[in-house]
């Protein structure tokens, strides 16, 4: 499956910005059956400095700096991504891994799990919490397989949370999402990660896109797609297996991965510092189009 993605982020500043630095995390990853064939990030005004770097997690970051006064910034990221076969779900399904064994193995700090174990620890948006532990407990009864536990958890989050755009912000704590039971895909993902980590299981945040299918008979609207977020769980011997709790499904051919991190903070698509004191407006448009 081949996708063409266009992700536009536009800022309008009330007061002129004299200097702006941005860290962009917009270039899709190359990994496991996903290939980023082309990636092109266009920026207006033209940045004075533009540096590509690979971060700690292996993601491609783009740092841009603008040193001339500007009152608008438009970032257009266009990429062509081929998905051969996403996922190792079949393997994960067929492997009998008892979740407590996984937890204990990872906790042993052996060479193999030295890096992976950091995804069992709290991070900025994913705290350790009694409430979350309680919420997750019945999905992982003693002796359950990791697969079944994750499926149950994904199902539980999907059915407990109302998908409600605009109710939460990027800084809403996951514990209050658990109380309000409302949120967007970022909240669904953070909650699932928090549940897994609170049980001692390694889980990470996946940022990317999803192809959307218009209602039958209607044409697809331009810009109606969105950035998306889901979860990857570490299965020893297999690797990271992805789960989409917002949609209660296993990502296969419709999910395009941009980056992995501990949580949203590590992989925010656009993050910046501007030298200006005025207000700002932001608009984001995403199109995901299937090429074949």
């Amino acid at each position: 499956m081949r996708y063409k993605i266009r992700h536009i982020t536009e800022y309008r500043y009330q007061e002129t910005v004299s200097i702006g630095h941005n860290r962009l995390c917009l270039v899709p990853l190359n990994y496991q059956g996903q290939k980023c064939l082309t990636s092109n990030v266009k920026i207006v005004p033209t940045p004075d400095e533009l540096v590509y770097q690979t971060d700690y997690f292996g993601n491609t970051l783009l740092f841009i700096s603008i040193y001339k006064e500007h009152s608008q910034l438009a970032i257009t990221s266009e990429s062509l991504v081929e998905i051969v076969h996403k996922g190792n779900t079949d393997q994960a399904l067929n492997l009998i891994l008892i979740w407590e064994d996984v937890k204990n193995k990872v906790a042993l700090h052996s060479d193999v799990f030295a890096e992976v174990m950091q995804y069992t620890l709290p991070s900025l948006h994913v705290p350790y919490s009694e409430a979350i532990r309680k919420f997750a407990a019945d999905c992982f009864p003693a002796g359950a397989t990791l697969w079944n536990g994750c499926q149950a958890l994904m199902q539980k989050i999907y059915s407990s949370l109302d998908f409600t755009p605009g109710f939460t912000t990027v800084n809403t704590p996951v514990e209050s999402v658990l109380v309000s039971r409302k949120g967007v895909c970022q909240d669904f993902a953070h909650l699932m990660i928090a549940c897994l980590r609170n049980l001692g299981l390694p889980a990470r945040y996946v940022s990317g896109y999803i192809e959307t299918v218009p209602p039958p008979g209607k044409e697809k609207l331009v810009g109606s797609d969105a950035s998306h977020a889901w979860v990857a769980v570490y299965f020893p011997e297999i690797g990271w297996v992805e789960f989409d709790p917002t949609n209660n499904l296993m990502p296969s051919y419709n999910h395009i991965t941009v980056a992995f991190g501990r949580d949203y903070f590590d992989v925010a698509p656009v993050k910046g510092i501007i030298f200006s004191s005025g207000k700002q407006d932001i608009e984001v448009k995403v199109d995901v189009n299937r090429m074949s």
């Binding site: 630095h21 941005n22 004075d48 299918v213 698509p269 200006s276 932001i282």
Partner: protein, 853 residues
């Protein structure tokens, strides 16, 4: 001295010294007298005598206060500064003891350096299980954006510091490591210089190791990490600013080392380099010595809410274009849990045991250790692995049952965040108090600096003692008392004490924009305080001498003068509103305008602003200037204490204040000769002078009065401008408005005439213009010239024409008003062109996370 006599008088000093024979004392042995290494010192104390020692102790504290040596306590309502306490009796460390300590600390620095290198490199310590990965990954000091960053050379850890104490068995222990921005070495240096100046007798017949050499090595270490092996790097010291607890030290070290003191807003990242914003433009920075915690250094990639950092700094660091010492990410070494795994690291890197043991530590991230900590919680100190943060270190034994249970619950919930440590056993050392020596618990902070793959140790340190007998609290936050630290030198040293040449001295000194702004405001506030206090004093004199409201003419002139006070201090409505209540009791309002620091525009209010600006430009003042600032601070306190009915006391205080500020001005004139800093400072002074004068003239001279009133007013104006005698010698007429205006505005012989001041301003403005590259003039100097020519061409005879009916001199008022606006425009333009106005914010993120299939 006779030995017997010595023993006798020592016993006077130490009467009842030992209260707990189980505690080891650095100086005295229980029932056995003093240790050998202290005997010289005690002899010197003896010959000085107890009375004299007491006098010197006072002098010592006075000197430190005058030098402005302070330690700020955040949230201390007594204002910014807490005086630095130094005991007259130093801590002595014998040459033999020192050799062991030095060897051990070098070994420890070596290993910590290797750990740091590994954490941001291969992480073999984690892969081999020598350090549990959880301990590192759960610590906020492990900065993932800093992965794989390397400084030039073998040392990643440039400066290292550790607190040492001695246990009852006489062994020295490491209590804690400081590895990201160790503080205190400047205080150590200041302690030594104060002690040797005030009590030189103590040093007789004793070789104390010198400290200066260490600071030379610090400079060398900083030069060595400069990018591309640059020989003459630009080095800056990055401070969080005047509100930081050790700001004094930042300013002190910067001027001692001859490097530039900067705050985050002085620096910008551009084209992958870091630049300092100066009055003359951008200058490249090669090395940043930081006193800002690492997570605050780059809001783009680290803490977004930090206003102390440089957005984009990490980009420049990763490109190798700027070196930061200690490197960003080194706070991982301050992880208390590491203490439990140091033995393994010593084995791994050196195959040796630590020479100096460290406090026994159990990291709760391991089940067995956690159980041990919970079981023995009554005998342990519980700490979070993160030094700063919400959790305060507690002694298990001091917790109530409920608190203890709560703590245990927390530990079980996130075990990897906690350690249990043995309670530290401190030794005591004698401090001089109440005519006696008393034992106080003592900790010494030691300092090491990277030196070609190895480490060099400061032969001395910062010793701190508990303020209360029997208390274990020795930190500065808790009001601890410091001591000079004497390491016995075995041979006569020949070390340069002064840093003879630092790289920045070979370079042209730069004036960071923020420093420029501070100096400009020091200039302005100085003149504002001088001018307003002088004028209010004059009005107050009139009020108290003449008996207000007794005489019709006096009343009229006084009314004008009181209104002028309001104009001058910008404290409307005040006396300006007709039938203002203030007129019934003018003394009350005048008292407020002098003594109430909360009242915007009052003398004390402006004085506080002045002191703040002076403090923010701390590194720019000589010790002598600082002494005057300290005096002014004292006068300020006394003015603040003046009650309304004791207002007559304010006269002499205002005189003292003016005298103090004038000598500050004079001192500054001498010491800041011809620098950009002086230009900014002088422009501030001149601008304020002109504005103050214009406010006075507008209020007093723009209405003509009946003769005797006019006489009184002209006299007052001339007096307050200190022009009365020159008026009489120049014009030899009775007071008249035309010659007065001539003298105040146009007379170029009069140094405070508007014309003379504008001439001065023009000179400085042209100076600046030339630096900016333009050959002669720029916008600012043109504005000044414009103002200058307006005054030069003023026609006094026309301007003084008054309306027959009202006496209003409209043309003069307009003239002054226009000029005022002009001067304000100059100040605004100056600020826009040369001062930094960098407020930045994070860019919003709104995600398109709005989709569900």
């Amino acid at each position: 001295m006779d030995k017997q006599l010595l023993n006798r008088s020592i016993s006077n000093l130490t009467d009842g010294y030992f209260s707990n024979p189980n505690v080891l004392d650095e100086c005295f042995q229980y029932n056995e007298g003093a240790r050998e290494s202290w005997k010289h010192l005690l002899t010197n104390i003896e010959s000085l005598g107890i009375d004299e020692l007491r006098v010197r102790q006072q002098e010592l504290l006075k000197l430190l206060q005058e030098n402005g040596v302070t330690y700020n306590v955040y949230g201390d309502s007594n204002g910014l500064n807490r005086p630095w306490l130094l005991d007259a009796v130093p801590l002595v460390i014998s040459a033999v003891d020192w050799r062991g300590i030095e060897r051990g600390m070098k070994q420890r620095a070596f290993v910590l350096n290797k750990i740091l290198d590994d954490m941001y490199g291969e992480r073999t310590l984690l892969k081999n299980g020598i350090i549990p990965p959880e301990l590192i990954y759960s610590h906020p000091g492990f900065l993932r954006p800093c992965d794989k960053i390397k400084l030039a050379g073998e040392n990643q850890l440039t400066l290292y510091s550790a607190d040492l104490s001695r246990g009852p068995d006489g062994k020295v222990w490491v209590v804690k490591d400081r590895a990201q921005a160790p503080s205190g070495m400047g205080y150590a240096l200041e302690n030594r210089s104060a002690l040797s100046r005030i009590v030189p007798e103590l040093f007789q017949n004793y070789q104390v190791a010198k400290l200066g050499g260490f600071f030379n090595s610090v400079m060398q270490a900083l030069i060595q990490i400069a990018p591309q092996g640059k020989e003459n790097p630009r080095i800056v010291l990055l401070t969080p600013g005047p509100r930081n607890e050790t700001y004094f030290e930042h300013a002190f070290l910067a001027s001692y080392l001859g490097i530039t003191l900067v705050q985050g807003e002085d620096l910008i990242m551009r084209d992958s380099f870091v630049w300092i914003k100066t009055v003359e433009g951008l200058e490249k920075v090669d090395v940043i010595v930081r006193r800002v915690d690492d997570t605050f250094c780059d809001p783009l990639e680290l803490r977004e809410d930090s206003q102390l950092g440089i957005p984009g700094l990490l980009l420049a660091v990763r490109k190798g274009n700027v070196a930061v010492a200690n490197p960003l990410g080194s706070s991982i070494l301050e992880n208390t849990g590491l203490m439990a795994f140091m033995h393994g690291a010593f084995k791994h890197f050196l195959n040796e045991d630590p020479i100096i043991p460290m406090i026994a530590t159990w990291w709760c991230g391991q089940k067995k250790e956690m159980d041990y900590v919970i079981e023995n919680i009554d005998t342990l100190v519980i700490k979070n692995i993160v030094r700063v943060g919400g959790f305060k270190t507690v002694m298990g034994s001091q917790l109530s049952k409920a608190k203890k249970e709560d703590l245990i619950r927390k530990i079980k919930f996130e075990p990897f965040l906690y350690v249990g440590q043995e309670e530290v056993a401190f030794s005591t050392s004698p401090i001089f108090t109440k005519e006696k020596l008393e034992p106080r618990f003592t900790v010494m902070r030691s300092y090491l600096v990277a030196n070609k793959g190895d480490y060099e140790m400061m032969r001395g340190g910062l010793t701190r003692c508990s303020p209360e007998k029997g208390s274990f609290l020795v930190s500065n936050q808790d009001g601890g008392i410091s001591k000079d630290t004497w390491v016995e030198a075995t041979f006569k040293e020949n070390v340069k004490v002064e840093v003879k040449s630092s790289p920045d001295m070979k370079r042209k000194a730069v004036l960071p924009s923020r420093a420029a702004e501070n100096l400009f405001w020091v200039g302005r506030y100085t003149q504002r305080v001088i001018r307003t206090s002088r004028f209010i004093r004059l009005v107050l004199r009139n009020l108290t001498q003449k008996g207000y409201l007794n005489n019709g003419n006096d009343t009229e002139s006084l009314t004008v003068l009181l209104k002028t006070v309001t104009h001058l201090t910008d404290t409307y409505p005040g006396f300006v509103e007709d039938a203002a209540e203030e007129f019934n009791n003018p003394l009350k309002e005048i008292h407020q305008l002098i003594c109430n620091p909360e009242r915007a525009g009052s003398v004390l209010f402006t004085l506080n602003n002045l002191l703040k600006s002076m403090y923010a430009a701390r590194d720019r003042w000589t010790v002598d200037s600082w002494r005057i600032i300290d005096d002014v601070e004292n006068i300020k306190r006394r003015i603040g204490a003046v009650e309304p009915d004791g207002i007559r006391h304010v006269f002499s205080l205002l005189d003292q204040l003016n005298a103090g500020l004038l000598s500050f001005t004079e001192m500054t004139r001498q010491s800041m000769y011809r620098s950009d800093g002086r230009t900014m400072y002088r422009m501030g002074q001149l601008i304020e002078e002109i504005l103050m004068e214009l406010a006075q003239y507008r209020s007093i001279l723009t209405v003509s009065h009946e003769e005797s009133t006019e006489f009184q007013l002209l006299e007052a104006v001339l007096l307050s401008n200190q022009n009365l005698s020159s008026y009489r010698s120049v014009y030899r007429t009775s007071l008249n408005v035309v010659p007065t205006i001539d003298l105040l505005f146009l007379n170029s012989q009069n140094p405070t005439s508007i014309l003379s001041q504008l001439e001065g301003l023009l000179k400085y403005a042209r100076n600046l213009a030339q630096k900016g590259g333009s050959t002669d003039d720029n916008d600012i100097s043109r504005l000044v010239f414009d103002a200058y020519s307006q005054v030069r061409l003023m026609d006094v005879a026309t301007l003084v024409i008054a309306d027959k009916a009202t006496g209003y001199r409209e043309s003069l008022d307009d003239f002054c008003g226009t000029l005022q606006k002009h001067i304000y425009a100059i100040a605004t333009k100056l600020s826009a062109s040369y001062f930094s106005h960098t407020t930045y914010q994070t860019q919003n993120s709104k995600e398109g996370f709005q989709f569900e299939v």
